[in-house]
Amino acid sequence: MTGTGLDPHAATPVPRRREGLRQGALGLALVLPPLLVLAFLVALPAVTAVIETLTPAGGGGPTLANYARVLGARTLRADIVFSVGITLVSVAVVFALSYPLALYLRFSRGRAARVLGVLFVVPLFVPVVIASFAMITFLVNHGFVSTLLYQAGVRAFPRLVYNGTGIVLTQVWVNIPFAVLILGAGLQAIDDALIDGARDVGAGPLRTFASIILPLNAVPTMIALTLLFIGVFGSFTIPYLVGGNAPAMLGVTMTNYLTQYLQRAQAVTIAVLAFLIASVVGVVYVASVSRRERGAR
């Protein structure tokens, strides 16, 4: 290649290759910033965290001692079980309340449905901290609910805040709009003709729901469930403010180990364990999304 590259035989392929190169470079340039953010702010810290948990404090080869210590502590095992339990219950309650609401908003045409369609998103615009404090003042002893029950003659008032119940109630309040939006978007995509067709051949509402709507909305449902799980499982503000002292959810436990007990290794180990639990759910999410992608093609 000593010439100027103006070989007449090469003239045709060169611009095409340049074109391809330019497009590739543009694509790369567009993808690069998020990719770098992902690499340096997510992947790299995650890898160093995992390495840190496997490195013993006194030096030496990789060991699982940190994990043995964390999983050997009864309080930490209790925190893990509590976190998963609270998350599953919260997701189940959110789902049970959101699905009927999404169905109602999809299939009702009245004014009530329109008003409800605006009202249900309100919690989405309330910061979680404010929602948590609102729930506390609402549910605490001497709060609104207890006063109401007292007036109604109920004297034995159950504890509704500063325990798992409080966390679940607040999570439900905060997460319903999000769940309804995702489920509703899925329901919108179902063709009315399919539902009318089912009715024409004599299917009742239940049968239509079970045979048409539920299967057609399966992917958005999985996405809603997995995102809800990860959101609740990784939450800090609500369990910190509304939860009790012990057992605590892992977000609170991690923060305590890092900032209060000055035990960094333990905090990072708990973080890696939390990540492993969340990644199981992440796999389900990725599988659901890729199934949808394949379906779309």
């Binding site: 502590a73 009864r74 001497h142 500063y162 403010l241 002292n245 012990a246 305590n256 000055l262």
Partner: protein, 376 residues
């Protein structure tokens, strides 16, 4: 020729000297600005920016003060690093006065960062009890203090407990009417837990710089005591987050007694956030407390101004602001304060126990969570 040289020299001298002279006069006219670095919560930052510093500038018009607020001590390590770097480079620093925690002062001592304070440099330091200055190694000037005390609602508690054992007995006799905050979230909770520890072990052993986790076996009886108290706590063993949350429970009359910071409790009382019937008292042995100190970098650009400010800080005028603004204890001996102030603080202004050191405190918090809150 010689005359010409003289004239030239005279001109050169004039050229050099006149602006310098001009600058000096300008310097005398414009007040020097002291940079005051303050660690603390909003109330402390307000105390400095709204009360202390304006009053100081009024009293000493030759100085102005610029406050750099370090909310909750955030950025403290950065200030220390900056000071060490300037000291090692042989430069002056723009940090003229710093209110910070003892650990920062401690780290600066081997670097020779601080002025060794004495009543020769700062005459009013003579009014501060000598042992308080000794506790800082002479590198900090205690200008305000507070301790954890027992707050109780006298409407429901006629005979408040006088000792820690009385307090434990009261809690057991009045289930659901006492709590202390989660020690992870506030010093008033740590103080109650430490009091239980000090009930069975010597405070001095855990207050110094020595740290040996083996010593923590001495805490076992305290964990048992606290665990046994759990069913008698508010809401069957609930400990709210933070010093304020406990005061709110006291204010709403959900509980009748709690461990609270003296300055916060008195401040809440003054602002009507707890009923007037809520009183504060120190028990025996006392709950822990401490002094907040200010430290002066020895190579600051305005050392003289900083010393003037410090001396003024220990005058009755400034000490009165500490009391009226944040309900703190004065840094100077109580005998230098007016009678009305001494009367206001009569029930709480008593000696207090030392804080456990940072490492023991971290372990106390963790073990409390495992042994008491999780009940194992």
């Amino acid at each position: 020729m010689r005359g010409l040289v003289t004239v030239l020299l005279a001109l050169m001298v004039a050229v050099v000297l006149i602006p310098a002279a001009g600058l000096r006069t300008a310097g005398a006219a414009a007040p020097a600005t002291l940079n005051v670095y303050i660690n603390g919560d909003t109330n402390i930052l307000d105390l400095w920016s709204k009360s202390l510093l304006p009053a100081f500038s009024k009293r000493y018009p030759q100085y102005r003060a610029n406050m750099v607020g370090l909310m909750h001590g955030n950025g403290g390590q950065g200030v220390l690093d900056k000071l060490i770097a300037a000291k090692r480079a042989g430069r002056t620093t723009d940090v003229d006065l710093w209110e910070t925690e003892p650990s920062m002062v401690e780290q600066g001592i081997p670097e020779g960062l601080w002025v060794k304070l004495s009543d020769k440099l700062v005459p009013n330091l003579g009014k501060v009890p000598a042992e308080k200055i000794a506790a800082t190694g002479g590198y900090g000037a205690p200008y305000r203090g507070s301790s954890v005390v027992i707050g109780y609602n006298s409407q429901f508690v006629k005979n408040p407990p006088k000792t820690f054992d009385d307090l434990v007995a009261w809690i057991k006799a009045n289930p659901g009417k006492f709590t202390y905050c989660d020690p992870n979230t506030g010093g008033s909770g740590q103080a109650f837990v430490s009091a239980a520890i000090y009930r069975f072990a010597s405070p001095e052993k855990f207050a110094g710089n020595a740290y040996d986790p083996k010593e923590e076996t001495a805490w076992e009886p305290a964990w048992k005591l606290l665990r046994d108290l759990q069913p008698a706590m508010y809401n069957n063993g609930f400990h709210p987050n933070g010093n304020v949350a406990v005061l709110q429970l006291l204010g709403q009359q959900n509980i009748y007694m709690a461990s609270v910071w003296s300055d916060m409790g008195l401040d809440f009382s003054k602002r009507g956030l707890v009923p007037k019937t809520v009183k504060f008292e120190q028990i025996s042995p006392p709950l822990f407390g401490g002094d907040s100190t200010v430290t002066l970098p020895s190579f600051s650009a305005h050392l003289e101004g900083a010393l003037t400010l410090l001396n003024w800080l220990l005058t009755p005028e400034a000490q009165q602001m500490v009391i009226s603004d944040v309900s703190g204890y004065p840094g100077v001996d109580w005998k230098y304060m007016p009678d009305s102030v001494r009367k206001q603080f009569a029930d709480v202004a008593k000696p207090y126990s030392p804080l456990p050191n940072a490492k023991y405190l971290a372990d106390i918090k963790r073990l409390w969570h495992d042994r008491v809150a999780a009940g194992q």
